[in-house]
Amino acid sequence: MTAVAVGSVDSRVVGRERKFLRRARYIGVPAAVATACVAMYLYVQSQELDSIESRIINARNIWTAAVEQIEIALWATALTLVVAVPLGIALTRPWARRVTPIIIAVANIGQGVPAIGLLFFIYIVLIRSGSTAAILGMAIYAVLPVLRGTMVGLQQVDRGVVKAARGMGMSKQSVLLRVEMPLAVPILLTGVRTALVLTVSTAVLAAFIGGGTFGELIISGQAQGRPLAVAVGSLGAAALAIMADWVGGIAEDLLRPKGL
């Protein structure tokens, strides 16, 4: 449900086995997901589906669910980035020193808000469209990791590097764009990856407010007493979230500036 992305932290913990860890992530994870999906597919093929089951479990339905879930997640992540990255930059500027702790505290408390409460509240009070409400809710939910990634990323930039850059006559903006941001990228990306996984994963809850996704298969399967549909929905939801994390992990490795 909530994701704390691994990346840098774990490669430190794993130490000498970084390569092995990377291989396990790159190959092991998708292999396991593919195996589970194929097994499920073969199992479903071998079963006689009744009319209700075949109405829920069919290629078109599954495709729609996946697209809905991905769409919600991508929009939410994009919205989060647009808000959280500039906010994170602003909060690390010296002039924001006073408000920064307050906003961090609010964001931390916000982390404790249950996704489902936030989602239902937005749906009932603000937006009566399942998928739009889900996008807004997920975006709010994902702000904290991106905000934190941006801030920590910027704060850990070596002060000596910034001082040297200023001393050479780079303006504040160009220090930010050419030095601070590139150096913050690895940690920022970890935050973005967390946000992406978080939204893909939480997007399933949109099903409760008619937003579709694999959650839809789970809920209608459960409502109509069809465990097979529940299982298919669960596997679909899980596979999507795991693969989102997988893609995020690869992107993190590829986008890291050389030399770091």
């Binding site: 590097v161 050479m168 770091l260």
Partner: protein, 392 residues
């Protein structure tokens, strides 16, 4: 705008008063830095020397007072533009880890809008200047270099746009003693050619004496306790504070003042032979000279071995005879360095080499002792109350 009397940098009652602090960090500093000289700001930690330096390029904005660069009041000009006219080297170096060495060095030229060709040529030129092979290093990342190499790149980056002024804040402070000495010597060699105006902060008085054309000894609040040439400061400290700061071993410190090239380097006092000389010729030369050893030079005229008469055996390869030359000093080395080398050598002589490592003469203990006597005599003439030499 530059006139012969106007110093390159002039600080006029420069003050930094941080809000909430009672005493100013820098209290009304007046300082003139003449063109082409290295001026050292040295003082105990917390005396405000770094703050003073950082006010010159306005990384720290002064509370009051004025800064003149080449006669122009730059206290209120655009700070970014100002900084592009001054090279800046700090102890942490601060290379951009995500950029290659070439990109790092090109930072200021790019900001100044140089074209690619000019930038590339300049990068190669600078890498050569600091003794790094451009072909090998330009595309490396900082983490792929040693600390000493990174420091060289830091210096090259600061010189990239050929600024008339360089500000250096403990530039060699984070390196080990051997690397530091090498970097210092290299930097002095470079400075001989480029003649920049340099303000250099250090807390190490030995570094100050070695590097400085002038030294400003700073007390708390960056108040200047004495501002003069190293010679004068060592021979006539202006106050008890300065004396205390100079510490013990003033005599040895003075040896840091004189360079090998400044004293009489004897040429021809010791017989030399080349790789082609036969043992018989060598023996004749040695006997004529009346010395105990002769010096074998290799094909590039670099000192190779000290050879005594008993080592001269016609059947033996000359390049294996005698003992290897341990002590070789650069002509820019200080007498202190030379003394140490000499003590390593059996016959009490240091071979002096030029820039390319070729033999330039010899230096012996007597020369150094004579130099010390001369210094003492000068100090006594100056009427300085400091007794030098007797305690060391």
């Amino acid at each position: 705008m530059t006139t012969s009397v106007e110093p390159m940098i002039r600080l006029d009652k420069l003050t930094k008063h941080y809000p909430g602090q009672e005493a100013p960090a820098v209290d009304g500093v007046d300082l003139a830095v003449p063109e082409g000289e290295i001026v050292i700001l040295v003082g105990p930690s917390g005396c405000g020397k770094t703050t003073t330096l950082e006010m010159i390029n306005r990384l720290i904005e002064p509370s009051s007072g004025r800064i003149f660069l080449e006669g122009e009041d730059v206290t209120h000009v655009n700070a970014d533009q100002l900084r592009r006219r001054m090279g800046y080297v700090i102890q942490q170096i601060g290379l951009f880890p995500h950029e290659t060495i070439a990109q790092n060095i090109a930072t200021v030229p790019r900001m100044l809008g140089w074209d690619d060709k000019r930038v590339n040529n300049r990068v190669d030129e600078l890498l050569h200047l600091v003794g790094l092979d451009p072909g090998r290093y330009r595309n490396r990342y900082p983490k792929e270099m040693s600390g000493g190499q990174r420091q060289r790149v830091g210096v090259a980056r600061a010189m990239a746009a050929d600024p008339p002024v360089m500000l250096m804040d403990e530039p060699f402070g984070a390196t080990d003693p051997i690397t530091r000495e090498r970097l210092q010597n290299e930097f002095l060699r470079i400075q001989e050619d480029i003649r920049k105006t340099i303000v250099f902060v250090t807390h190490d008085i030995d570094e100050a004496i070695k590097m400085g054309d002038r030294i400003a000894i700073l007390a708390e609040g960056s108040r200047i306790a004495q501002y003069d040439t190293p010679e004068t400061i060592l021979t006539s400290p202006a106050s008890g504070f300065v004396e205390q700061f100079l510490g013990s071993g003033i005599l040895l410190k003075r040896l840091n003042l004189s360079r090998v090239e400044d004293v009489h380097v004897a040429i021809g006092e010791w017989p030399t032979i080349g790789p082609e000389t036969t043992a018989e010729q060598a023996r004749q030369q040695l006997q004529q000279s009346g010395r105990t050893h002769l010096l074998l030079l290799d094909g590039q005229r670099r000192p190779d071995r000290w050879i005594a008469e008993i080592d001269l055996n016609p059947d033996r390869d000359m390049s294996q005879a005698g003992t290897r030359v341990q002590a070789c000093v650069d002509s820019r080395a200080t007498l202190n360095d030379a003394l140490q080398e000499m003590l390593l050598n059996a016959n009490g002589v240091a071979a002096v080499v030029d820039r390319d490592g070729a033999y330039a003469g010899t230096l012996d203990l007597e020369t150094i002792i004579a130099e010390i006597r001369e210094m003492r005599a000068k100090a006594l003439d100056n009427g300085s109350g400091v007794v030098v030499g007797d305690d060391t």
